[in-house]
């Protein structure tokens, strides 16, 4: 009896279900990479991508904010952040943290990131975003701080300090003519701020809050600047400083009821102020509507800042009308 040879084992089919299943994810990845590359090549990245707004009012708010400028400016000015009784002055470091975040790589849908620095102007950062009209805009963020060094005693003797203080104050006050958004991150000085200079001291060598309260040196200048007609360019003013809601809101409202305000009702810790101001910029670049904006200021990261936005999403009686006109 002849034995039939044992049939050799069949090699696996090149596209057996097993192998096919294993290969599919890789094919999918290849497809997506190819698709992304092709769409970039076709110039889809530069197509008009008009953002979708929740309602027409929200759209109008951002149309007014960005205006017709191709390079709208957002200004963040730090106050003189002394830490009396210590000599330490922190605004140089805080500004640098802020800039590190703005120039850092972007995660998720964040837009307050990926900025480039200007070579000739150390305070200027730019990046491209899609504006409310679907057109690409270059947003300019100017970040200015006043202290010359981290030592308050040294600063009081340094002639460069006077220039730095003057420049920071000008950047803040002129911001009402030149920038769509002006944010102050510094001391409230019991209602006498914003303050860009080494603080006035009392005989006990501590900050003379009584004097600041009585004279309001910084706030009086803000109110004067807001009274000027040209200040209408600014659509939002932020005070990231202690109890700024109580100290500043009502009197700013009397002069500019149409101005969006971000204020804090609490004593604000510096890192919370930084997070909140970054989130404010992010919300403005992402053109978040009222609900989204408010909830962005109440995330676990930003909640401690106690920031509140008011007047920015106020329904306007003249649709499409720009206050800058």
């Amino acid at each position: 009896m002849q034995l039939t040879p044992f049939p050799p084992q069949r090699p696996p089919h090149p596209i057996s279900p097993d192998r096919f299943r294993r290969r599919r994810p890789r094919a999918r990845w290849i497809f997506w990479i190819f698709a992304l590359g092709a769409s970039y090549w076709l110039g889809y990245h530069d197509r008009k991508l008009k953002p979708i707004f929740e309602d027409a009012d929200c759209e109008r708010v951002y149309e007014r904010l960005y205006g017709s400028e191709s390079e709208p400016e957002f200004r963040v000015v730090f106050g003189y952040k002394d830490a009396r009784p210590a000599r330490f002055v922190a605004d140089r470091y805080e500004r640098l943290l802020f800039i590190q975040r703005l120039t850092g790589s972007c995660l998720g849908t964040d837009l307050a990131c990926g900025f480039s620095r200007d070579r000739g102007d150390a305070d200027l950062l730019t990046r491209s975003i899609v504006g409310p009209d679907g057109q690409r805009k270059t947003v300019r963020v100017r970040v200015v701080q006043p202290s010359a060094s981290a030592d308050d005693l040294e600063n009081r003797k340094d002639p460069f300090q006077r220039w730095k203080s003057k420049r920071a104050e000008e950047a803040f006050l002129k911001g009402f003519h030149e920038a769509a958004v002006v944010l102050y991150n510094g001391h409230s000085r019991a209602g006498g701020g914003p303050d860009f200079e080494p603080p006035r001291l009392n005989p006990a060598e501590s900050v003379d809050f009584t004097w600041y309260k009585a004279h309001e040196p910084g706030f009086a200048k803000v109110l004067d600047a807001l009274k000027e007609e040209a200040s209408a360019r600014t659509r939002m003013l932020g005070f990231y400083s202690c109890a700024s809601h109580k100290l500043f809101t009502d009197r700013v409202r009397e002069i500019r009821p149409d101005l969006g305000l971000v204020t804090s009702s609490r004593l604000i810790y510096f890192s919370d102020a930084l997070e909140t101001s970054l989130e404010t910029l992010n919300s403005l670049f992402s053109m978040k509507c009222e609900k989204g904006f408010r909830s962005a200021l109440r995330t676990p990261k930003t909640r401690a800042g106690g920031a509140r936005v008011s007047g920015f999403f106020r329904k306007s009686s003249a649709p499409g009308g720009s206050a800058a006109q």
Partner: protein, 304 residues
Amino acid sequence: MTLARVALGLWLVGGAALIGLNLDAAPGPKTKKPAKPKSHAVSKSVKKPIKKPRAAAPKAKEKPLEKKLDKPVDWSVHARRFTGESERVRDRSIEALRKEPNLKARLEEALGTPKHFLALDVIVALELKDMAPVLLRFSEEDETGYSYHALNAILTPQNQRDVLKAYRERLEAQRKPGGRKLSPAAQVALIDAMTRAGLDLDPGLVEAFLTDVEPEVRSSGLYYVRMALLKKRRYDGLKLLAVALADPAFQIRMQALYVVSELSDAARGRRAIQDALRNCAKEDFEEARVFCDSLKNKRRGGGT
């Protein structure tokens, strides 16, 4: 060309629909998602509890400050009270934190987390000097540079020399190929610490700060040069000052001009500075040009 683009676009979208989407999933019957439990925010608009007027209720007695402060709370709550509050509140918070069990371990855990800055504030306020080695270790990876500020505040005469030596080594190492690159904030913190301590740094290293890509590092480097020129009378710093006078950013050029304005006539008359001031006419920032001219003329006036 446009037609080709549209066709390719349609092909891409179609391809995405066919390949990119999950075809393995069987198109089973649509199941209704289980209803979410109504959150407070949603139900608020539907069922709003009617608030009773409180007018008749007796006014609750305000808790005395002592009771409020003595309430057991997380260390970070106390740390927040260091900002903006009165000296009395601050002192009470420090007192409460001193009684906190395992505080040092908890502070160490908080480094690098969202409570990072609060932890550093507590270390400084409580003068936890034995945490210096922890901070020195952690500062190497701290991109905020704030652990250096905290460390500087708790240095003792015993460890100051070693810590400053470590700072110098870190600054030098990052300039070497393959060296660990520090964040701009960390570099600025280290250069400022060197300036305050009045340490002598290698001119090559200082020049590297003055030509760094980040203007803040250049500005800190220039502040170091100011200290070397004005306090230590190290005139080799004049060449470095000339580097800063030609900086691309006008803010740094202004800072350098102010340093020139603080120099003695003799120092200002040195060739390196005179050569740099000759370029005033090329200055495109008006304020700097005017200032530069005034410094040139001041020298001329002083010399005659």
